[in-house]
Structure formats: structure tokens, C-alpha cells
């Protein structure tokens, strides 16, 4: 039997959800027996591959790049999981939403900077008007809230998905 393909992705988040993923401890070995991790911050691959079985996405959708990547992930993945509060609710990433983008960038990179006061424009993706949860951009199949989500919730969800079942997360909810 060929192994399943798992991809992970880090949009506008702090990488805490990925830390929690690493915190699966020995469950990681169980996961590794059944699946390969083919994309993500833990892997070298440059482009999101085709034919992914489970994609775990951390972070809110905050920039045009996030939006494009998320749409690619959706097209190329069987199951898309929103991993953590930023992906599920917008969380801390969305706290900027009440401030117009231009004002926000100027406050940080001009008024807030001691030197080189300029809003960066080269090689950085443009910010969307508001940062939001994944499901406001694409269809999401499963939500694992938590900041970060508990390793046992992630482990349970991933192992269930690899068995072809849809995990019932109702008893594992934790926001914050």
C-alpha cells in the first residue's frame, strides 16, 4: 500500500500550531508509518504538490500570497484542515482588521521605526484589507481550534483522517 500524503502550511500565524504538531511525540511515529509529509515548513519542497490527502493549514489569510497559496492547496488536496485559532477564527492576526492597511503599515514602518523609515514594497506580498479565517476564502473540511491546538486533538484528527474517517471534534474543542 502506498503511503498517504500530508502537507502542512504556515500562513499568517506564529508557527505555534506547527510546534504543537511536533508535540505529538510518539504519535508522530504512528503518523509517519502511514503517511509522508510532502510540503510545509518542515520539508524542502518549493511548490505545493498535486494529490495531497490531508493538508493542515496554520494561520489566517492575510495577504494576496496567502490567498493564492490557499486556493492552490484547496485544488490539490483531498481534505483541508484549518489548524488553530488563526486559521479557524482569524484570532490575533485579525486584530489589525479595524485599522486601514495604509495607516497600519505607516504606523509600524514609519512612525514606529527608529531608522530606515519606509513602508517595504519590494518582495513582500500585499496585505488584504482584513485578515480572516480560511473558510471565508475556501471550503474547509475540518476545524481544529486552539491557540495552539492541543497535540492530542491534532493527533486524533490526523489518525482518523488517515483511516478515511471524518473525525468528530465536538468533544475536543478549545479556543485560546
Amino acid at each position: 500500500m502506498s503511503k498517504a500524503k500530508i502537507a502542512t502550511c504556515w500562513l499568517d500565524g506564529c508557527s505555534g500550531c506547527h510546534m504543537s504538531l511536533l508535540d505529538l511525540d510518539e504519535t508522530l511515529i504512528q503518523v509517519a508509518r502511514k503517511a509522508d509529509i510532502v510540503f510545509g515548513p518542515l520539508v524542502d519542497a518549493q511548490e505545493f504538490p498535486e494529490g495531497v490527502d490531508v493538508a493542515l493549514v496554520e494561520g489566517a489569510v492575510s495577504s494576496y500570497d496567502d490567498q493564492r497559496l490557499l486556493q492552490t492547496i484547496r485544488r490539490r488536496s483531498q481534505v483541508l484542515v484549518a489548524l488553530g485559532d488563526c486559521a479557524v477564527t482569524g484570532n490575533v492576526s485579525s486584530m489589525r482588521n479595524g485599522i486601514p492597511v495604509k495607516k497600519l503599515l505607516e504606523r509600524i514602518y514609519v512612525q514606529g521605526a527608529a531608522e530606515a523609515q519606509a513602508v517595504p514594497s519590494d518582495g513582500v506580498p500585499g496585505l488584504l484589507k482584513q485578515a480572516g479565517p480560511l473558510h471565508e476564502t475556501v471550503k474547509v473540511d475540518l476545524h481544529i481550534p486552539g491557540c495552539p491546538p492541543k497535540p492530542d486533538a491534532i493527533g486524533f484528527a490526523v489518525l482518523e483522517l488517515l483511516e478515511g474517517r471524518k473525525p468528530d471534534m465536538a468533544s475536543k474543542v478549545k479556543f485560546g
Binding site: 479557524v88 482569524g90 479595524g98 473558510h135 491557540c147
Partner: protein, 236 residues
């Protein structure tokens, strides 16, 4: 002694005194109906609608805290339909303001957050409104953060009915509704506030907090305020 009536709660026959609400009767029957705005000892206002129950022969759902129990009633407090609506209510509360649990002073001590976990709300299906809201830090000891307020009015009632100061009220309508201090003044300017802190302890979320606490540090004591209110003989 008040005249006794019998009602059925989830099939179980319960005797309660006339004038009790369905919520009181359910409590007496050992049922824990989800509730946010209700606080024993204060008047019931039916603000949050989480306590909705099904009543045999009645087509719509009714809030248990404001519906009086009547002789012969048959009430259902747990069903798929109720869970569906209770989840929707929680989702609407989350979508209406900025509830960022991870940086909230009451993270892990919040009744709204705890109910989401209890009812299995894994995400909010309604579009978030991300309103631009302020925090009032003018009081020397306390803070009001509108981002976390669910307009349950527990603070309004505890201040008016128990402390007797009536500092709080709600102004405007719909999603524009806001908790206001006196005639919409900064809390610190209130002449009526005795700084007793009852509103802070009664608030189910991180909307009212003591100053000086960091994320996750503001645990509240609503049960103590509630006991005091009951001793003073407040409404149900």
C-alpha cells in the same frame, strides 16, 4: 409556603413552587441548561437565549429563564434541535465582537469560551464583523473592554439590584448596542460607582476586569456575587 405545581422535565416529574421559572425547575431536577445572562438572585431578562427549551404543544423555542413553569407542562431541555440553535447563538455572539481568546485577560476562565467547548462549536459559520471597539481604562481599578462584551447585562443588574448604584445601562439598538456608564461617560468619571467590583465578578467574559492582570489571569467569582444576591432576597 407557596403553592406547588408539577411539571415534566425531560420526562421526569418535578414539583416546584408556583412562580418558579422553567430554569429553576430544571435546576431542581438536576438539569444543567446552558445559560449566560442568567444569574441566580438577579432579575431574569432573557438576553442571551442560550437557555432555550422545547415545550410540548408549543411550536417555538422558549427561554427557560424567563418562562414561568405552569402545572402540567412538559419540557425538553436536551435535543439535537436545541443543540443546533444553542450553537448558532454562540456563533453569533463570537461573530458580533472581537473575541480573541488567546490574548484575553479571562482566557480559560470565560463562560462564553467554556460553553463553546461544552456544546462542541468548532468554528463560526457566520461572517465575523470585526467592529472597531474601544476599551474604557479611566477607572482607577477596573477596565471595560467592549471587544469582549456580549451584552448579557449581568453587570447592569448586579449594580442596580444588589449594589444599588445603577451605574451601567445599554444604549442604542441591534449590533450598535453598547454598554454605557451613567449617561455615556467614562467609568472613571462616575460619581455613583462605589468601586465595589461586583460588576467585574459577575461578568461572564473578559469584558470587565480588574487592572493589573495579564492574559489568562482574570478569574471571576460570579457564584459569590450570586449567593449574596440570593441572601438579599433578589428576584430569580
Amino acid at each position: 409556603m407557596a403553592h406547588q405545581i408539577s411539571i415534566r422535565i425531560d420526562g421526569k416529574l418535578v414539583k416546584v413552587s408556583a412562580g418558579s421559572s422553567i430554569l429553576d425547575a430544571a435546576l431542581a431536577a438536576g438539569k444543567d441548561i446552558p445559560a449566560l445572562c442568567h444569574m441566580k438572585g438577579l432579575s431574569a431578562v432573557g438576553a442571551c437565549r442560550l437557555c432555550v427549551v422545547e415545550l410540548a404543544g408549543v411550536g417555538r423555542l422558549l427561554p427557560a429563564c424567563t418562562t414561568p413553569a405552569a402545572d402540567g407542562m412538559s419540557v425538553t431541555t436536551v435535543s439535537q434541535k436545541l443543540t443546533k440553535y444553542r450553537r448558532m447563538i454562540l456563533e453569533m455572539l463570537f461573530a458580533e465582537r472581537n473575541h480573541v481568546c488567546s490574548v484575553c485577560v479571562s482566557n480559560n476562565h470565560c463562560e462564553l469560551q467554556a460553553l463553546a467547548a461544552r456544546l462542541g462549536v468548532t468554528n463560526v459559520r457566520f461572517a465575523y464583523s470585526y467592529p472597531k471597539l474601544s476599551a474604557d481604562t479611566s477607572h482607577p481599578r477596573f477596565v471595560l473592554d467592549h471587544n469582549r462584551c456580549i451584552l448579557c447585562t449581568r453587570c447592569v443588574r448586579v449594580c442596580a439590584e444588589l449594589e444599588g448604584a445603577h451605574v451601567w445601562d445599554v444604549m442604542s439598538r441591534g449590533t450598535g448596542s453598547r454598554l454605557v456608564c451613567d449617561m455615556n461617560q467614562p467609568w472613571g468619571a462616575s460619581k455613583g460607582c462605589t468601586s465595589c467590583g461586583k460588576c467585574v465578578q459577575a461578568c461572564p467574559t473578559g469584558a470587565l476586569a480588574e487592572k493589573g492582570w495579564c492574559v489568562e489571569e482574570m478569574a471571576k467569582q460570579p457564584a459569590r456575587v450570586s449567593r449574596l444576591a440570593v441572601i438579599r432576597g433578589g428576584g430569580q
